[in-house]
Amino acid sequence: MTETPAKPPARARIPLGQRETVAGYLFLLPNMIGFLIFTAFAVVASAAISLTSWDLLSDPEFVGFQNYIELLTDDPLFRTVLWNTFYFTFVSVPVSTALALGLALMFNTGLRAIPLFRAMYFLPVITATVVVALIWRWFFNPDFGILNYVLYELGVDSPPNWLATRTWAMPSVIILSVWKQVGYNMVIFLAGLQAIPTTLYEAASIDGAGRWQRFRNITLPLLTPTTFFVLVISIIGSLQVFDAVLVLTDGGPANATRTIVYHIWEEAFVFLEMGYAAAVAWILFIMVFLVTLLQWKLQKRWVHYEA
């Protein structure tokens, strides 16, 4: 941002700096129009809508912070929604991160056929969540699905009725999400691992460090920025889980898998409670913002960057 380009030669009467300024704005214009309308204006509008009661059929009615007050003090359903979202996030993120790290470490030992394996782990990543959720819904089918059949053959007498019970519905959504996410996180870890200079391992070997010591004292510390990054984007992504919930369980049974975005969608686009839904969306925004902020603060403290 700070480097100085050599001045281009003058061609017309318009002064040089001005030509560059005009060109700059013109290049920016197409993107800026979309950005201003669909992001900048929309964020402000959404904040304004969250202060109203609006069903789109009549005019919006200004209610101040009523939606927020209600959400935070007098809305048991929203409390369930928050709990479900946290449950989903704080189980699926550590599990998928740990699995991805383990797999990346194994891939990084110089496996043969890496492209083939990687493609297999990537298949869920590139497929639409709606599609994989539909497949898993069939996979989880208690009567004719293959999963419970295999479990039964393996000696599980009464395998769970996955999607229809309050106990197992959220774990099912988590299993699907981990399965879909793990290949993606693995590729990020693999890139992080490959950026660690080989010379460090060689030096440590010469000094007599064993495999575990090398992992503990070289790989793990140098991989913290990557781990941290994976954790943060996974948390932010998990707070926004929607497609999987809609297709697998429709938020049920009895709201057991109703998450924040499912709640926003239903309130806004099924019940036309635009003000209430916008307020929920803003609470989600604030949560994402806090995670990002936390990242900035913690990054300085415990992330080891290469010197």
Binding site: P9, T127, R214, F242, A277
Partner: protein, 285 residues
């Protein structure tokens, strides 16, 4: 560059066992990744009822009935076209607008540039659900519900793509453009004839992610469309689930058809996917 840490660990029996275990675990994981897809394909190619017990893996006989029926009970070719058309337009729009903006941010100097760039960066963390309500109301006001405009235009701009391309443009040496400028090329010519060709790996990466994002996108088309013939594939599958919830043979055939185009693109452009995720970590969402 990626000399594995264990490569220098000798060749004792412990190491051989370790290798075997590694392959075993990785293969088992890979199997878990594809088993649901195999189960989908198995069901899709079964004629008649999908409900057989005990479940069988190999359909006998292999039948295309489900595919034929999906094609006749819903306008599947129309959905395919909708998804393709929307994804191509969104990809084109995102690549064009963000590469123009990225050039301005990376190379041109004008008042307010850095402040505007920071604003772009700041919006990267805004969850899409925050803007979806006002944008939906805007589309309704413009009469763009159930139109291609409504499906395409609000999603054809990307702050992320602008950021990605700007970083790449900054890594391109300036000498070539300066020579071109001396020869009298305009800024636009520099962008189209020098920057864009040199940045083709980054452009390809952005293009595959834009395409995948648009192809797999669900929430926006789901709320934008309420007539059958404007559905994209993901929305169509969801409606299909609502209407024919127990017709698993049909649903699996539809799922298989819906994921095939993306699979083909992935196999053809695998390195761009991997590079994109490895360098940015974004994209796939």
């Amino acid at each position: 560059m990626s000399q594995p840490p264990s490569a220098s660990a000798g060749n004792g029996p412990a190491r051989v066992i370790g290798r075997i275990l590694t392959y075993l675990v990785v293969s088992l994981g890979a199997l878990l990744m594809i088993v649901p897809f195999l189960w989908m394909a198995s069901t899709a190619f079964k004629g008649g009822s999908a409900f057989d017990y005990p479940p069988t893996w190999i359909p006998d006989p292999i039948s295309l009935d489900n595919f034929r029926e999906v094609w006749t009970i819903v306008p599947f070719d129309r959905y395919l076209f909708n998804s393709l058309f929307v994804a191509v337009c969104v990809t084109f729009g995102e690549v064009l607008t963000s590469s123009l903006a990225a050039y301005a941010f990376a190379r041109l100097r004008f008042p307010g540039r850095d402040a505007m760039f920071l604003m772009y960066l700041a919006t990267l963390m805004i969850p899409g659900q925050v803007t979806i309500i006002p944008n939906f109301i805007l589309m309704r006001y413009l009469g763009w519900i159930n139109t291609y405009e409504g499906l395409i235009i609000p999603t054809a701009f990307t702050a992320f793509g602008t950021f990605l391309l700007r970083q790449y443009f900054l890594s391109i040496p300036r000498e070539l453009e300066e020579a071109a400028r001396v020869d009298g090329a305009s800024y636009f010519q520099v962008w189209s004839r020098i920057i864009m060709p040199l940045a083709s790996p980054a452009i390809a990466t952005l293009a595959v992610f834009s395409f995948m994002g648009a192809w797999n996108s669900f929430l926006w088309p789901f709320i934008m469309v309420n007539t059958s013939n404007m559905r994209t594939l993901t929305v169509a599958l969801r409606s299909f689930q609502t209407d024919y919830g127990t017709e698993w043979g049909l649903m699996m055939a539809g799922s298989l058809l819906a994921m095939l185009p993306m699979l083909v693109i992935f196999l053809a452009a695998q390195r761009y996917f991997v590079r994109g995720i490895a360098t940015t970590g974004f994209g796939g969402r």
